[in-house]
Symmetry: C3
Subunit: 442 residues, 3 copies
């Protein structure tokens, strides 16, 4: 290879760019509060459309698929095997490495929903359609994460893992693992559980401890997962069977209860339509009347749980009326981006007042109520909605425990007020260790 | 079809019955406290013998098996496939839909243990035989649930999920999922875990985290589950292998420890016989001496844990002697059906005093002890009894934590007594938010 | 069979030895604190080299492999089947029962790493090599358990389960289950999880909720586990793939973070070498640059979490300076073997001061910090290190909760000090119920 003068000049001009590797230290967050946070280097994987910059690689050159796989067969044989077993490889012509990553090893790209949508426009359109149903949705997950105030306020290392799940909005390999992209794999419940697990969305527990999940665990290994998610094809439903029937990538048009974290009227015209959609899926196997009965039982559970939540919320509101919450709303260090809260501090009890922005930074008893409302209540809902008996009962017990603990603490606060009017509790939050710690390390 | 005058008259007389669909709003609970609770619509699934009423269906007519499956092949193909793959379908003549559900689509029935027992009398007899061993037992599970005072006292929606498991007494499809009813399926541990999981009976954790369960998880998918549960047929035991050997549906005659929630003398003549039965099962694979060693280790664990429990119980009893438990027994709102407790209020510390009726409605520290005694202690027992090392250690740590927390709270109560004799703590429980809430929503 | 006089004499002389069965009641612990504890009968299984004594069996005689299996085919058919399916059985000549257990049924032995090492010297050498890397290690696990002060101080029945895992140092069947000893089995993650699960090492959660574990759960049942753990052989790594690549039984030479429970400088020369070893494994499937990014994210997570831990540690140290920790170091009942602590009592806050010996026996708030530092912090580390998103986020939330709870308690302690100088809190720990209980039952 001969190098011309022109090439040398181009190279010299490009040098600063080539020398730069990965995301610059000065990269800025995006979204409503983008000026308040900085992405870390992995962010380019969680949101490639926004953050990925081609890195300067040791490997130079422009390659065709055969050349890519010839070399990677030795370097990373697993992904080559996976791709060769994929429908992408069997297509004529094959959808090879360059189709998704580009040909130039100096400018490799990561696929995004938009680039996958070039060949799979219907799936992209379905996912995009979710946006009109509001949150929760896959399509809005990323902006939901980065736009929340507590995300921007917390040390980035503490919330880095949020993005690992919420990146479902920004890339397709959250569910379709590289490089086989086999629908057979994405149909199985484990495709959902790396994200849908843990306290904020314990769907793994809900499914695996339900009779549906029980059957899957016993016999799922022997089923033919190449079949589409259609009536009669599977002995028991999986996550995707009910939530993504026939592969529909829009999962929002049956969402009645929205995680159970806000009280909904199940009898609105819109919700009646959504429930009918659910019953039609249940009726693939069960009498529709059974489904109706289960939904009535869920309605009753929700109503009863919300009565309990409102009862406890009343305890908190009464403490607030008597100025026993410390710090009071006006005393809390506001979020950096919350100029309005500086002028008009808002209380944060319950869904309409607090929501996700109350993840921390409130008095201990408010946080206890947040945990009860969000995590415990949500767990009870998820259990009941999926027929996970033990899970439901576990979270109902925990709701009782939460209510008892909050009532006990409330009584303590009232008694302390009576006996020791002069104790100043504010320093803990305003000048004390915890606030200082938070402010120092933010 | 010609309609006679007689048919019209019969129809008119029957009209009110035909028009009625599902469980009437005024349905009454059954059992000791039946007058205090009402079943919800799903109750007819959990206890069909008592509550199922044939519904007026849109579909009229009397059908033979071929007609049922001909139509349901399109309506609910999955269950038809399952039945066709079953031994019921292969029998000559087949045990078809009408055998279990009746022929008249207006009078469809749900099978019960009694109706299944028509063909499987030995299995029914085994299950019935459990009753003579007392609780815990599958055969008594339903009455155990609905007869407990806290079940009758709580909002029904909060305890609905209890019945979903305790209905194991009332129907066979808790373990044998519809419509294949394949013993191969019921032999696998997942058949047990939809109920035997979660804090009150964490048997899923106990099995899956034991060396037995470890082997099952690795290789169970390749074993021949059509083999009976007999010596040499399986590389490792499952729940049913030890607890229902050779398919015995009576699981009580080896029950020495009864969940670990009461102290038992392992050396009574009766328990020595039961332990011998256990050792004989262990000896299918292990030297009997190893089994003996494990049981001695379990004995030691139980003895040590009960010492700890009694130590903490003593703390509570000493608080009670000094009138530091609030509410005191006489101050608690009694259960509605508990006329005796109005006259002679009983304390509820520990097994003999409190038991399951203390699930709530007691002072905070009594409830903490309840949780320690019931959930933590039971978890330690289950772990030790199943060789689940990490589980055992986890619950032993938690027993220490519980003991420490209760001792700390007890000390707080004593110190508060010294410093602030005049604080009246009663309002929390007697007039405060929590009691008001409970009374309002019951 | 004729019995000679000599045999009778020998038998009479040996009688006391033959009559003795199992571990003597007076057996003594081993190790640093051996004089303070006694092993229970099962200890001979957890540490056969030290404790196993051949038992007097009902079965007399000296046997060859054919005779062993001929009889055991009926007595314990499962283990005979397992052995017959093993490579031991297929070897020429077969490695039969006597090779591991001896020939004399009165002197049966349990295999140890040393006896297995007779045929597998490389594996034994690898395991032994671990010792030079310090703890954590498999090879040092047993002495780590029995040498810790809290092990010796606690009732033996409470810590018996510790040995069931830490016995990994003393025998090979912790990972290779008897009697097939098939590497195919040991390669699967479940081989690790009977020990690597639960709060002190939640690796089951870390793996199964990671994208790697998700893929394993979906499709692992169909993979060819007879293949060695080598690049390209598996679609996703398992525990052993990364930690024991190509079957290396030395798992310590990449251990940078040591469970996350001590702060490490990831940039030391030694750690850079270890990280490079990690990256080389990641690079079997991923661009090395991605691995580098993940490690940087892990560095940031660790740094942020340690800031939080140090912040909370400061709260405790400030309480100590103001003599608000009760019991103070000098007031705690020291461990029986801790003569130095009687003279020079040491505080136990944080890693360098407290470590594992602070498992109990400290003030409530110190124990809360211990739990935060050990269990919560370790969980956050394990989640982040394995790409288990939900797990990481769950433990980060819990770190916040722990910090809040400790700050709240600290403030309570300060306020109580202000209002009620005269309350003597010492009795709880020094003369109160908890200490009495612990001293009585130790």
């Amino acid at each position: 290879m001969r190098i011309s003068y022109l090439q040398v000049v181009v190279w010299l001009l490009c040098w600063p760019w080539l020398a730069w590797s990965g995301l610059p230290e000065t990269a800025q967050g995006v979204g409503e509060n983008g000026e308040h946070w900085q992405p870390d280097p992995m962010h380019e994987y969680w949101d490639p459309a926004t953050y990925h910059r081609p890195e300067r690689e040791r490997m130079l050159g422009v390659f065709k698929e055969e050349e890519c796989t010839e070399c990677h067969r030795g370097v990373t044989p697993g992904i080559v095997k996976d791709w060769r077993a994929s429908r992408h490889a069997q297509a004529v012509p094959p959808v090879g490495c360059p189709a998704c990553h580009g040909e130039d090893h100096q400018k490799l790209t990561f696929p995004t929903p938009q680039s996958c949508g070039n060949c799979h426009p219907q799936r992209l359109a379905q996912m995009e359609e979710e946006k009109k149903f509001g949150f929760p949705s896959h399509a809005l997950a990323m902006e939901r994460a980065v736009d929340s105030k507590h995300f921007a306020d917390k040390p980035k290392a503490e919330v880095a893992a949020c993005l690992q799940c919420h990146s479902v909005a920004s890339k397709c390999d959250s569910c379709h693992t590289r490089h086989r992209f086999d629908p057979a794999e994405a149909r199985r419940p484990e495709a959902c559980l790396t994200c849908h697990s843990g306290p904020p969305h314990p769907d793994d527990l809900a499914y695996f401890s339900s009779p549906h999940g029980q059957l899957y665990q016993k016999e799922g290994a022997t089923w033919d997962w190449s079949k589409p998610l259609r009536k009669g094809n599977y002995p028991t439903p999986t996550c995707a069977y009910c939530h993504m029937k026939e592969g529909n990538h829009q999962v929002a048009d049956k969402a009645v209860w929205k995680f159970g974290i806000r009280e909904v009227n199940p009898k609105t015209a819109e919700n009646e339509i959504k429930r009918k959609r659910w019953r039609e899926i249940c009726a693939d196997c069960h009498p529709e009347e059974t489904a109706r009965g289960f939904f009535r039982e869920l309605d009753a559970e929700r109503q009863s749980t919300w009565k309990q939540l409102y009862g406890v919320e009343k305890i908190l509101k009464s403490l607030r009326s008597d100025s026993l919450l410390s710090p009071a709303a006006a005393e809390r260090p506001p979020y950096p981006m919350d100029w309005l809260a500086r002028l008009l501090p808002r209380e944060r009890i319950g869904f309409y007042e607090g929501q996700a922005s109350a993840f921390y930074n409130v008095s201990a008893i408010e946080r206890d109520y947040f945990d009860m409302w969000y995590f415990t209540n949500l767990g009870a809902y998820k259990g009941m909605a999926h027929g996970a008996k033990e899970m439901t009962q576990h979270f109902h017990k925990q709701l009782d425990d939460n209510a008892r603990a909050i009532a006990t603490t409330a009584e303590e606060l009232r008694n302390r007020e009576k006996t020791s009017k002069k104790i100043d509790l504010k320093p803990l939050w305003l000048e004390g260790e915890y606030t200082r710690f938070n402010r120092d390390h933010n």
